[in-house]
Symmetry: C2
Subunit: 98 residues, 2 copies
């Protein structure tokens, strides 16, 4: 790792009302990946969903968050019965395997 | 949030050789939850597995990592074909729902 980077950990439980979820998720993904400073994305989901996006700077995260208030992404709140978002500074990383 | 806390994001792909995985996972969980400074744990798994543990201080993470080299947890490496671990400082969090 050359320098610190940032992560947004988004842990969530989906609500039962999933109308519009597919389109909302697609819009969110598309908005995220073309956002300045975006590095990568990881997710997995069972009862609990975890989605983590990685960013170059904290400013990039602020700009991304502002963009997520875009009208096309407005359904995001009603699709979750619970979520917790954490903004993190990645201080160190290490990798094994290929 | 009262003060900063820390997260270890462990993203992984399981190997095909899962002999000993169940016992190893159980040992890891037990060692983790009784470790000083442990706060909470979240995980989800599809093709990609994501396991996140939260800690009071970075020192607690160092002590935990030393404990994971315990002989009973020695199978952990052969159970993953790939993993990436990231040590993070959680700078801000917010929650929605119940």
């Amino acid at each position: 790792m050359n320098k610190p980077y940032y992560a947004v950990i988004f842990t969530n439980r989906q609500s039962e009302d999933l109308e519009g979820y597919g389109k909302m998720a697609e819009t969110m993904e598309s908005l995220t990946k073309k956002q300045l400073g975006y590095l990568s994305f990881e997710s997995a989901k069972n009862e609990l969903g975890i989605a983590i996006s990685y960013w170059e700077t904290i400013e990039d995260i602020k700009n991304w968050k502002a963009n997520l208030d875009h009208p096309e992404a407005k359904d995001k709140n009603k699709c979750y019965s619970w979520y917790k978002a954490r903004i993190c500074k990645v201080e160190r990383d290490y990798e094994f395997g290929d």
